[in-house]
């Protein structure tokens, strides 16, 4: 009797929650309290896809859903991004009948890396996509290997894994199992001879501790790695980006599928490839998949354009405490930026309190801003001193960067003069503090 009650409570909770604009995890939480194993009692669609990883979960899930829908499948997914067990419960139960049937072809969900094991104790995904695992929110996650250890129990032996062959850490999930599909980037236009960035997390093998060597790298320590001690190496891929030109924005998958990129970032390329791979595994034709990802514009708003005085600007959302997300956006500014001024804002690291944990600023490769097209850098927010201290140890000459403590003052300074392009790098939590001072572009 508890099952229909829990489902009903969740549906009602969701309905009233929507009315008052409340979050999407509470109804699920309520249902789990009424019936703790409710997720084990639901008849799920025949295809259940989970997506996890440090970066790219939300974007990858969005594109998978778009492709599968274009193929005529009914897809349910957590687009609100509530990716812990409560949010997943809300999503499933609000789509279930009172008898516990979910009427859809595919259940697709983003899953938090650390809590996936909790979510998937009640049901098993048929496919599990892991985009990557690297330094991300270490105050919460400890370090990448502790996330690896937390995620591993969520991967049931019967679940097919789709793994990033280029990532030496998350590829370890594929050890000693057969049901793995690998995706990755071949040597292509963006490849460099060896890993880039301030720190080198691919220097040693995560399994044996031996020294690793790279045939090439795409970004940071993501590339073609091989351990010189145990011989473990980048696995052979089933789905690969075989050519890539970020300048013209053309991506080729498996030599034959050519797509244009709406957003010319290396992240976008990996997310597209992961989405392509899982959809092909689910039987979608390459033509259907390519048709959707061609010029696909993500709806999750990681990139916002605006006007400020005579300036046109782009805000690139980086996650604070995620150095590779910053590196990727810095690379975007360096590669695609016209003459520009760059604003880096760190105003709140934690929503709750001020923290001394700014070590992640030292992990970001700010040297990339020492590029001829970057004319000036403004550092702003409550952590501007910590940012400035970091910049004092970057390759940028002191005259190229300045500190403007408050965000309104930084916006005011920019508005008052000049017309060059602006790039703003900041986090979700600080984004609107700047955007509200600008005019949104139509």
């Amino acid at each position: 009797m508890r099952k229909p009650l829990a489902i009903l409570a969740c549906k009602l909770g969701y309905f009233f929650g929507k009315l008052v604009g409340k979050g999407s995890s509470l109804p699920g939480k309520l249902a789990l309290r009424i019936c703790p194993d409710i997720l084990g009692q639901i008849r799920l669609p025949s295809t259940v896809i989970a997506v996890s990883g440090s970066n790219g979960k939300t974007s990858t899930v969005e594109m998978i859903a778009a492709i599968l829908r274009a193929d005529g499948r009914k897809v349910i997914y957590n687009k609100e991004g509530s990716n812990q067990i409560e949010g997943v419960a809300t999503m499933i139960l609000t789509h279930a009948s009172l008898s516990g049937n979910v009427r859809a072809d595919v259940l697709l969900m983003e899953s938090d890396e650390r809590y996936a094991a909790r979510t998937f104790q009640f049901f098993r995904p048929t496919h599990f996509v892991i985009t990557n695992l690297y330094r991300d929110q270490l105050t919460r996650n400890g370090h990448p290997e502790s996330v690896y250890d937390a995620l591993r129990p969520a991967l049931a032996p019967e679940t097919e894994l789709l793994l990033n062959a280029d990532d030496p850490l998350s590829s370890c999930f594929g050890q000693d199992r057969q049901n793995v599909t690998w995706f990755g980037l071949d040597r292509c236009g963006i490849s460099v001879p060896s890993p880039t960035g301030v720190y080198h997390d691919g220097a040693y093998c995560p399994v044996c501790g031996g020294r690793m060597e790279y045939a090439y790298a795409h970004y940071n320590h993501i590339g073609a790695w091989r351990c010189t001690a145990c011989g473990r190496e980048r696995p052979r891929t089933q789905y690969a980006v075989t050519a890539l030109d970020l300048q013209t924005g053309v991506l080729t998958i498996d030599d034959t599928v050519k797509v244009k990129l709406a957003f010319r970032s290396i992240y976008n390329v990996y997310n597209i490839l992961a989405a392509y791979a899982i959809c092909r595994r689910c039987g979608v034709s390459s033509a259907t998949a390519a048709g959707v990802i061609e010029n696909y514009v993500l709806k999750n708003g990681r990139m916002r354009t605006f006007r400020l005085g005579d300036h046109h600007g782009t805000l690139l959302t980086s996650k604070h405490e995620n150095s590779i997300a910053y590196d990727t956006n810095l690379r975007y500014v360096q590669d695609h930026g016209k003459d520009c001024v760059v604003v880096v804002i760190v105003d709140a690291v934690s929503r709750k309190y001020f923290t001394s944990e700014t070590s992640w600023l030292w992990d970001i490769d700010f040297d990339r801003l020492n590029s001829p097209n970057v004319k000036r850098v403004i550092l702003s927010g409550r952590y501007c001193n910590d940012l400035a201290e970091r910049f004092a140890y970057s390759a940028l000459p002191a005259e190229k960067w300045e500190v403007v403590e408050t965000i309104p003052a930084a916006a005011g300074t920019l508005k008052a003069s000049g017309s060059e392009e602006i790039y703003v790098l900041t986090c979700f939590s600080d984004r609107d503090k700047f955007l509200t001072l600008t005019e949104r572009e139509a």
Partner: protein
Amino acid sequence: MKLTILHVYPDLMNLYGSYANVAVLGRLLERLGHAVEVRRIAPGDGADLPDADFLYMGAGTERRQKFALTDFRRHAERVRAAARDGCPMLFAGTAMELIGQSVTDADGNTADGIALAPFRTVQHTRRIVGDVYGQTDLFPEPVIGFMNKCGVISGADRPLLTALEMGFGNESERAPEGWHSENVYASELTGPLLVKNPKLLEHVAAALLTRKGLTPPDTWPTDLWARQGYDVTARELRARAQKA
């Protein structure tokens, strides 16, 4: 004068911006007119650690810490001799655990440390994360930093931070943190520690200079951003500590 800093396992024990401790120490010594050479030591390098004026190791994951310890044990006698000889050294983050008697992992396996210090570390699956605000006997200013570890340390008879107003110390909440003896400094704090605490940086640099027969300056060159950053963080953490 030419001064040499040994950075031990820079690509292995590299979490939480660990390298920045070396960067700020090197820069400060250069501003005092010295030439600084940083020598990077990788696992498996050479038979002996070269002579140096400072030795440093930063934080690593529990797996990497094990790989590091296996190699570092080869150097145990030499590191202990250097410490007896007064060579200043800093073990920051989880590197601190390696200089104790032993490290026991979350599965219960125990490995010998290099026995430079008397304490023992027992790691757990639960991580200990949070800001730290405390006092040291070395100077009057409070020390600030961030804890991100899973090890509980017992038997650290001479803590670096003698009293914590906020945060987890070696063994428990608000217990003393780190270890310090003569010129050996160890602390699990990240931030990184010497970036966050200009006074501790000066103290460590003074130890290095004194051992070389040089006189530390009466007035240290100031790093405006580091100083202001310290003031803001210390003020904010103090307010949080008082509220708690």
